[in-house]
């Protein structure tokens, strides 16, 4: 949790301070006791949270209907009784307890007709629908973003479109209360710099990520995943600048591993790459909004994509680790089992591999290889990586035959060692291809680390999915995995 907003203690009148509300039966019960204290010569000051005419035994109380005093005292229960010396609280008791009240006030024989004790009620300042607004009003904001006042007659959704802050879909208005709530999702300080975001190379704070996560529709508990994704995207290796600027139809694809998947209710099953799951959709979207709004990466400006792809709105899914015959992607990439990670891949839109007839791994791997060969162009080897998303029904074929991931990878590499004669420019009547002179070479479609294998998808369907990559290696982009700090 983030450090709560600083509650500057209010100056309090010396003596006994009571905070009550009319709607609390225990507060009504102790009304006569407060009158008894006053009659005994105690310097008593009472505050009412909901009705200054309450309690009637005192002829009313000071007005705390704005809840400022209650918020500053961080009350959670009424009645609360404080002893104050020199303007400072020195003792506190909550609810009604004869012994507690007598010890605090030094007056004996309080409320003789009352039970020994009675629990209090919830203080109004901690009611869920008020707590965030009170923090904004009285907390003295820690947030540094510029405040933008929308006119009363301005439609909120339209106003955010008009300012150029959306990806084409409506966004949630990033009010201060919502952003503060979002920041509760991390223990990182709001002003901590997460990454320098291209293309404008802007130092992006946790706060700015939170603002964009609110707009994307994230819940606070998603924020650590968004932060990890932003960090991973803005590394030199992942090179999101180039990924944004390229004319190719690619964007960051986020694969989530580890226990955070279940905690956030992410989808790794039916329609895992599709619509319908809030965490999947809004985490991917928040990353893209950070690039757009913080980094200044907008289509038609630095983003020069010829076609783009719908995944540039959001492309994020979880691996089905529990149903997988293989180790998770995160473990394969060097992270401990049980660690939560994001892996960013520079990917195009997903395409399907249909093979409903293969019942042996030897047949199925040939189908997969034949389709993988076509990534971007069947005559272009080594230039692009890919993610192979294997469905449960396809994975079962490999599981039943005892093929581990290394075996599958090795068999794919063998099938995707392509004869140069088929790849050179002009071969097959196609000008595209590798330069002449490589006719006798065998060229791998993918480099040794160029194929990521992930298990995801619904339980029915003898299909897999390929996500083609972008210019790979030091020239372009390398997949990057980061641990999620929760």
């Amino acid at each position: 949790m983030t450090a709560p907003p600083e509650r500057r203690a209010p100056a309090l009148p010396d003596g006994i301070v009571a905070v009550v509300k009319r709607s609390c039966p225990t507060c009504a019960l102790v009304g006569p006791v407060l009158a008894q204290l006053q009659a005994a010569g105690v310097a008593l000051t009472a505050y009412s949270q909901d009705d200054p005419a309450f309690p009637p035994e005192l002829g009313g109380a000071l007005d705390d209907t704005a809840l400022e005093l209650s918020w500053r005292l961080d009350l959670d229960t009424v009645p609360t009784l404080l002893r104050v010396e020199g303007g400072v609280e020195v003792a506190r008791t909550v609810g009604w307890s004869r012994a507690g009240w007598e010890a605090l006030t030094g007056v004996e024989g309080l409320g003789p007709s009352l039970p020994e004790q009675r629990p209090g009620c919830g203080s109004l300042n901690v009611e869920p629908d008020r707590v965030d607004e009170l923090a904004v009003r009285f907390g003295g904001s820690r947030l540094r973003s510029r405040r933008v006042e929308l006119a009363a007659l301005e439609d909120e959704v339209e106003a955010l479109y008009d300012r150029g802050w959306t990806d084409g879909l409506p966004v949630v208005a990033p009010t201060e209360a919502r952003v503060l709530r979002m920041l509760e999702g991390t223990d990182r300080a709001a002003d901590e710099v997460v990454a320098v975001v291209p293309p404008d190379l802007v130092a992006c704070t946790v706060e700015k990520v939170a603002v964009n996560a609110v707009m994307a529709g994230c819940r606070p508990e998603y924020l650590p995943v968004v932060l990890a994704a932003v960090e991973a995207a803005c590394t030199d290796g992942f090179n999101v600048h180039g990924l944004l600027a390229t004319t190719m139809p690619v964007g960051p694809v986020v694969v989530v591993n580890g226990p955070v998947r279940q905690r956030l209710g992410m989808n790794s099953g039916v329609n895992a790459l599709g619509q319908g799951n809030r965490a999947n959709l809004t985490i991917g979207r928040a990353l893209q909004l950070v690039i757009r709004n913080v980094g200044g990466g907008r289509p038609g400006e630095v983003d020069r994509a010829t076609h783009g792809n719908p995944g540039k709105l959001s492309f994020c899914f979880a691996e089905d680790e529990e149903g997988s015959p293989w180790e998770p992607l995160s473990v394969e990439r060097g992270f401990a089992a049980g660690a939560s990670t994001v892996t960013l891949f520079p990917g195009e839109g997903p395409r399907s591999v249909v093979d409903q007839l293969s019942r042996t791994p030897g047949s199925l791997v040939r189908s997969l290889a034949a389709c993988l060969r076509t990534v971007h162009h069947p005559k272009l080897p080594l230039a692009f990586d890919a993610v192979l998303v294997v469905s449960p029904e396809h994975a079962r074929v490999f599981r039943d035959a005892g093929w581990d991931k290394a075996r599958l990878r090795a068999e794919l590499a063998e099938l995707l060692a392509l004869p140069g004669a088929e790849l050179v420019r002009g071969a097959g009547g196609m000008a595209e291809g590798v330069p002449a002179g490589l006719e006798d070479a065998m060229l791998g479609k993918f480099g040794p680390d160029g194929l990521l294998i992930v298990h995801a998808g619904g339980g029915a369907g003898l299909f897999s999915t390929i996500i083609g990559g972008w210019v790979n290696g030091a020239t372009g982009s390398t997949p990057v995995t980061r641990e999620v700090r929760e």
Partner: protein, 91 residues
């Protein structure tokens, strides 16, 4: 009335005056920057020939990869050694 937080980087770059434009290239050192995209060198080789024909001095530079901005050191070196720069975008 709603108050929202600005989601942008709030960039306010300091305005900088452009260097004066030369009226002629005689006596200038011309930087030719290859961004390392395919066939950019073909274009720059031809430009270099045309510059040489006119007796203009040329310096050649290359970015490590076209997918990333030119490194700061390279930009500085060009600014120190050249009066003008021509960058080739190619494919």
């Amino acid at each position: 009335m709603t108050i929202v937080l600005d989601p942008t980087g709030g960039q306010a770059p300091a305005p900088r005056a452009r260097s004066p434009r030369p009226t002629a290239l005689d006596g200038c050192t011309i930087g030719l920057l290859d961004i390392s995209k395919a066939r950019g060198d073909v274009f720059l080789d031809r430009l270099a020939e045309r510059c040489a024909e006119r007796g203009w001095s040329v310096e050649r530079f290359a970015k490590p990869t076209f997918t990333k901005p030119a490194p700061a050191d390279l930009r500085y070196e060009i600014s120190q050694r050249c009066d003008v720069v021509i960058e080739a975008l190619a494919d």
